[in-house]
Symmetry: C2
DNA sequence: CTTTGAAATGAACAGGCGTTCAGATAATCA
DNA sequence: TGATTATCTGAACGCCTGTTCATTTCAAAG
């Protein structure tokens, strides 16, 4: 009964990622079984192991992929100019990148503790790299005399927490348009670091 | 071999709560087994069921207890005065309440999805009640003309996310003193809502 | 000193877990 | 057309899961 029409690796692979992301975001890594993922995809559990060596890799690959895409997209934005301009660009980039990916964002923040120590370390480096990008902007603002934050590292963490928190309650169906959300959050960020 | 010296319910009960909180905060509700908790307490797994009807209640009771303590403590603070004064009191209260309870805070934010629908709803109400307390202060500030936030509900969520994010990275051993942390965060909050 | 009963044990229950693998299937290449 | 090969099935592996319960233990009450 194997190899039904349309069941090629080009199709099954992405479907596994999608199903895993949705299920794990909803119920958590530990609470989701390989069998549930397989059922969602419409395949027997053994077939999953043609695409991932084990469950842990499934999680790590998702998180690594997400962070990689995030860092690449940030780099591609090529944010420069004075500190205020860069901060606005960063803020709007963060919101626009995160809002359409609620599952990945949720997983990237909630499932850190389910990573092997080695995998945890790798993701940690990537997270810190993103944090540094914002801390750099804040430092530039200090130097320019445009911002006043007593600790750029702490402030960077605080602002990222604020911005990412948005992903935890925002739902597409809500009445608030993204443009309006962006403005509200940019107002808060801009004033928070102001002199 | 039962009933060794010192193994009364007054002692075992709190030890179960403590062990469960620590393990669940570290590894997640779904990843922690009743047997692990029992081992940590130094008791057989069956003994746990003298203290909780099931695993789900263990989680819910912890979260409900935490939220209850939070709301009671907030009420006891009796925060009043002008909006700026109240906002500072709320901010400092939030930090002082959350920092000494990293495990409970972690659980209260990470394990919502592992609650039964009925339990989820109950905790949701309590969370919203806390959110309302801050939103009220922001609204007062708007009325007084002391604050300028375009959406008090969104701003309240944003600020709480920022403040709670602190609990996710702050560790007692760190160099930063609580008083200093409080000041840094209060600066960010105060300016974020300023005119 | 005996009785009582809360508290803990230890074994069992049915079912789910991640992972492996021989064998079946069907699209593709020669 | 026949051989090859990627893909999937179906069954099995040993182990762990939450929960129950008859039995044992022993501090405290009478």
């Amino acid at each position: 009964m194997a190899r039904k029409q349309g069941s090629h690796s080009d199709i099954t692979g992405p479907r596994i990622e999608e199903a895993a992301a949705q299920l794990i975001a909803r119920h958590g890594y530990a609470a989701v079984s390989m069998r549930q993922i397989a059922t969602e995809v419409g395949v027997q559990v053994g077939a999953l192991y043609n695409y991932t060596p084990d469950k842990q890799s499934l999680l790590f690959d998702m998180m690594h992929n997400h962070m990689d895409t995030l860092l690449s997209a940030l780099k591609a934005e090529n944010i420069n100019g004075d500190a205020l301009t860069r901060l606005e660009a960063f803020t709007r980039f963060h919101i626009r990148f995160h809002l359409p990916r609620p599952d990945q964002v949720f997983i990237a923040y909630m499932e850190l503790r389910n990573l092997d120590p080695a995998n945890f370390a790798k993701i940690g480096v990537m997270r810190r790299s993103y944090e540094d990008a914002l801390a750099d902007i804040l430092q530039q603002g200090e130097t320019e005399g445009a911002f006043a934050v007593s600790d750029t590292r702490v402030a960077a963490r605080a602002l990222i927490a604020m911005l990412t928190g948005l992903s935890h309650w925002y739902r597409e169906e809500g009445q608030l348009e993204i443009a309006r959300i962006e403005t509200i959050y940019w107002d808060l960020v801009r004033k928070a670091v102001s002199i």
